[in-house]
Structures are given as C-alpha cells and as structure tokens.
C-alpha cells in the first residue's frame, strides 16, 4: 500500500468502529476499502486519466468531517444556488443532512425520498438491493473511495407510472468548517417502469475553502422511465471534485444528463450509462467554463447493449487563462446492439493562447448495422462574426462577450427545466459581459 493510501487506513478503521451500520454495509465498505488500496489513485498511465493528473488530490490528506457543526452559513449558500425555491429540497452542509432547511414531502404520492441514513433504518432491504450494485467500486478508485467512506446521501424511489410532481433539488453546500475535509455523498435513484423524476444537484461552497468532494450516484431506470439529471458544480477555486453517476436503462427509457462545471481547482465528472433495454435513449450534455489554472474533465461511457437504442452527446467548453479542459467520450456497441444510433459532439472555445483542451472520442463497435458519428472542434471566436457585431456599433470587448455567450447558449438550451436553464443562462451571460 502506498503512502497516499496508507494515510486513509486510520480514518477507515475509525469509521468502521462507529456503530449503526448493518453488517452487509460494513462488508461492502470493507471490500471497497480493500479495492481502493489495491487499485490506488489513478496515474496518467491509466488511459481513463491520461490527461488529468490527480496528484493534487493524492498528495493531500483529507479528513472525514466529524461532530456537530454550525449551520450559520447555509442561508447565504442556498441563495447562490440556481433553481426555484418551491422545488422539493434536500440540503447537505459539509456532507451532513440539514433537515430544517430541507423539504421533501411535496414530491407527491408514490415518490419516496429519504436520506441514506434514514433509508438504512426504514427500508434496509431496498437499500441493500441497490447500493453498490451499479457503481463500479471494484474497478474505479474514486468509486471505491466513496463506497468505503460513504457518509450520507439521498435515496429516491419512484413507483410505477408515477411522475414526480416537481423537481428534487439536492444542495451540497460547503463552508469553511470543512476546510481540509473529504465529503463522499451518495445518490441512489430507482425509477420503476414508466416513472419520471428530475434531480438537480448543486455543488456550492464558500470562497477560498479547500476540500474534496467525491460523489457517487446510481440510477436504475425501469422500462419507459424518464430521468432528468442536472449537476451544477460551482465550488470554490480551491476545491477538488470527482463525481460519478452510473445509470442503467430499461426498454424505451430516457435519461438526460446535463453537467455545468465552472468551479474547482480540479474537477472530473463521469457520466456512465448502460442501454440495456431495446429502444432506450440517452442524452448527455455539458458545459464547462474555466479560467486561471482550473482543470475540468468530463468522461462519458455509453454502453449500447440492447438493439435500437440512441445516444446523443453534446459537450462544450470555454477556456480562458491557463485552464485545461478534457473530454473523453466512450461508446461501446455490443454485437447484439444492432440499429444503434449514436452521435457524439464536443466543441471547445479557447479565449487565451495558453488555455488547452484535450479531447478523445472512443468508439468501439462490434455490431454491423449501426450509425455512429463523432466530431470535435477546438477554435477561437470567428472574425467575421466579430466584425458583424462591431459593424453595428458594439465595442470589441462587448462583441467578444456576446459571441462567447452565444457559444455556450447552444448547449444551455438543452436544459429542460425553465428555471434552471434561465438561471444558468443568466450566470453564463453575466460571466462574459461583466466589465
């Protein structure tokens, strides 16, 4: 075991000794911890991490957060979230659930939402049937890390044919009490056939706080289910963030994931799905806006297992300063998955000569009757478009800002929720047009 891992052994022993976990979960944690120790933090020799060095995470020692905490900062952090105050809401501060700021009752009949801690007590069989069943804790270091140290999180179950009455907003807030800490949130979503749910996850933190968020989500979509997931990551510029969402989709289901990433010193968003039932559809979209020395990485894996499934991916990045963006999109088409229709697109806009993008589409196709395309561009603002705006009287800076926003707008338009889309458009617009 390397020194980078050994330093977490003590924290793990302490967590293991804590009472309250059922035996199966203790076993799962133990197995995940063993996997974490054996896999270790990925290096850039690992093809999944070729363009992203996690050395800044590996060389630090993050502590688990313990004990009672003050919730004084919550109000200010909630205000910064994009969304609607009337949505159902689950608020976590530094990984701990804050019941007095949460309201989960309004999602309607047939929607059961509870914290992981509560679900372990109230519906242990359901949790044990799903937790750790999709996310690859036995193959991915950060998923193993989360599974070994998982604190709290949210468990959502939507009954057959039920459409949740409103979106569920999960706010992951961090204040300075969590400086130097690690937070391992968990999301478990089970949609029974023809159920429908929207989840917005907002990651927001106070300025200047250095910490590590390592989230894992698992979503099971039954036949005909529809799951809309938006992740809005606007953490401090000192934060480290790894987030993995693994979905599996039944027949004719729809999964739409949108990732907005503008925070963090280093962030990595993994969105993975298995198209396991015929006619399932997945749409993966993302926008990252980074500058300074920020690093933002998105990885997608779409496994076409059943025939007649469609996957659509559009990711865009706008990079300034010396920032570094990475996009790696994998599409596997299994031999059974005939009539697969896959399209992957990613575009990056470089605003400075020192910003950098690495983009790697990977298609592995084992079926013969498929339509799969991918395209990637890295570019700068178009001179003719700039001239068009200037010829209407706009100054050079304003013209550049408008075109930069326009580049982002195409992918923001894919967000279905009006309040979220409008809010993200507003912050993106202000980011580029501020003087």
């Amino acid at each position: 075991m390397s020194a980078a891992l050994a330093k977490y052994a003590e924290a793990f022993a302490a967590a293991e000794a804590a009472p309250g976990s059922p035996a199966w979960l203790a076993e799962l944690r133990k197995a995940a911890h063993a996997e974490f120790n054996s896999i270790g933090f990925p290096t850039t020799r690992n093809e999944n991490w070729h363009y992203t060095s996690v050395t800044p995470i590996a060389e630090r020692t993050f502590r688990p957060l313990k004990g009672a905490q003050s919730s004084a900062a919550i109000g200010g952090l909630i205000e910064r979230a994009v969304g609607d105050a009337s949505w159902a809401r689950a608020v976590f501060l530094n990984g701990q659930f804050e019941p007095s700021h949460s309201s989960l009752a309004s999602l309607g009949r047939g929607v059961r939402v509870s914290t992981l801690t509560a679900a372990l007590a109230e519906q242990p069989d359901f949790v044990s049937a799903h937790l750790g069943k999709l996310a690859a804790w036995n193959a991915q270091a950060f998923t193993a890390f989360n599974t070994a140290f998982v604190q709290d999180g949210l468990v959502v179950r939507v009954a057959r044919g039920v459409k949740a009455e409103m979106p569920l907003h999960v706010l992951h807030l961090v204040d300075k009490q969590a400086a130097g800490c690690m937070i391992h949130p968990r999301l478990l979503v089970v949609l029974e056939p023809s159920a429908e749910l929207t989840v917005v996850e907002s990651y927001i933190s106070e300025r200047g706080v250095e910490y590590f968020t390592n989230g894992v989500g698992e979503a099971t979509l039954g036949d005909g289910a529809r799951f809309y997931h938006c992740k809005v990551q606007r953490e401090s510029r000192e934060a480290f963030h790894v987030g993995t969402l693994q979905a599996t989709q039944g027949r004719d289901s729809l999964f739409h994931s949108f990732s907005y990433a503008s925070g963090g010193a280093l962030s990595r968003t993994n969105t993975y799905t298995r198209l396991a039932g015929q006619g399932a559809e997945v749409r993966l979209n993302g926008l990252y806006l980074i500058d300074g020395a920020q690093h933002a990485d998105h990885q997608t894996i779409v496994e076409h297992i059943a025939p007649g499934c469609a996957s659509r991916e559009l990711y865009k990045g706008i990079l300034d300063g010396e920032s570094h963006g990475v996009f790696n999109g994998k599409v596997y088409v299994e031999p059974e998955a005939q009539q697969t229709d896959g399209k992957q697109t990613n575009h990056a806009l470089l605003l400075s000569p020192t910003a950098r993008v690495d983009t790697k589409p990977q298609l592995e196709i084992f079926a013969d009757d498929v339509k799969c395309t991918h395209g990637a561009t890295v570019g700068r603002l178009d001179d003719i478009a700039l001239f068009y705006l200037k010829s209407r009287g706009m100054g050079a800076d304003h013209a550049r800002a408008v075109l930069t926003y326009a580049f982002a707008a195409e992918v923001l338009e894919t967000v279905e929720l009006d309040e979220l889309r409008d809010g993200l458009e507003k912050i993106a617009f202000e980011r580029f047009t501020r003087a």
Binding site: I384, L386, F387, K390, S391, R392, G393, A409
Partner: protein, 248 residues
Amino acid sequence: MLKIENLHATAGGKEILKGVSLTVNAGEVHAIMGPNGSGKSTLAQVIAGHPGFEVTQGSIVYDGENLLDLQPEERAQHGVFLAFQYPVEIPGVTNAYFLRSAYNEIRKARGEQQVDPMEFLDVMEQKLKLVDMDPDMLHRSVNAGFSGGEKKRNEILQMAVLEPKLAILDETDSGLDIDALRVVAGGVNALKKPTNATIVVTHYQRLLNYIVPDKVHVLAHGKIVKSGGKELALELEARGYDWVLEAA
C-alpha cells in the same frame, strides 16, 4: 459626405481594388454595378472596416474624418452602416438583445440617453412594420434558422433602428423574391432623408426599379470604369457589361 480617392485594397496579398475614386453627397443614392469578381463587395466591406482587407493606398474621408483611422464600431457609431450580403447567424443571442445593444451603443456615441428593454419595444413596434416583420422575431436568435429573405429583411430592420447617415447595401437583392424585394426597397426608401446617403451594390438592374439611383457606377477589375445617371442601369440591363469593359 463621402470622398474616396485612389483606393487600393488587398486580400491575402492579392490586389482587388486598384484605384477607386467616388464622391457621394448627402441626399444621394448611388448604385455600384459590375460583373462578378469586379470588387463591388470588397469596396462595400472596406468602407465598413472588414478585417479581411488591407488598404494599401488612397483615402476614404467621411464627414471630414479619415475613415480608415477608425475601428469598425467607431465607423458605425459615426453613422456608417453595411447591410451584409451574408448576414451572420448568432444562435443563442436574441434579436431583441442584439438590436437594443446596437441601438444603445450608437445612442451612447451620440451622447443620447440609453433605453431599457420596455422603451425599446416601443421603438421596435414601428420599425418592424416598416419591413413587415412579426414581433416574434425579436425573441428568435439573430438570423439563426432565418430564410434568405428574413435575413435580408433583418438587415434593413437593423438599418431602420440605427438610422445611419451612410447606408451601404451589399447585394441586398440577391436571393430575394419579388415580394421580399419590394418590402426591402420600401424600407430603404422610407428611411431616405436629405441628410443621409445610400450606396446600393448590385449585380442586377432589378432592385433599381424600386430604389431609384441618382448616379450609377460600373466597377470592373477594381476600378470605376463608367459613371452615369439612372439610365445607365437600364442600358447595362439591355446590353450587358461587355461594351463598357471594351470601351474602358
């Protein structure tokens, strides 16, 4: 108002304008005609400050100022307007925002008060009628998904909003059907004042049935080879360009 003398311009090292001289006075409409590749569009774009061309010789004086010293946005703020032959699509930015930003920039340059979105809607109401456009277009992205005719109408709408002193229409008639042509020409005529001037760049005489020029110039091989009154356009329509080129 506009005095161009011995203007030479290159693109990618190739000389396209080879000594153009032209004087336009307030209240006048000038038509610039000529065969394809003669440099008509280049002349229009150089006046507006297109970054793809380099002026190597000559001068453009506009309202007593050396236009070539000004950035494209400064030219616009001084009242120069180019209706593009190929208007640029800007997905994600609404026409309302685009038009209001341009309108406010120009007002700011003139020392006038800026308008808020509500006041701007009042301004737009009458301008939209001028080019027969639906108010819904204000909420659509700039030119994105517009038909050719809608794009050209949108150019004239911008012109109506910005009220330029010198308007240059670069092949605004190309790709328009007869109804759209009438609307576009009607808009241009309605905006005509004794204090402003219009330069119409066109390949065909057709547009000049609707926008009647005071002077017609033939541009060929980067130079103006013949100038005359509106009857010259009719003669060109009947006889083609060859006789002018031969005479030159």
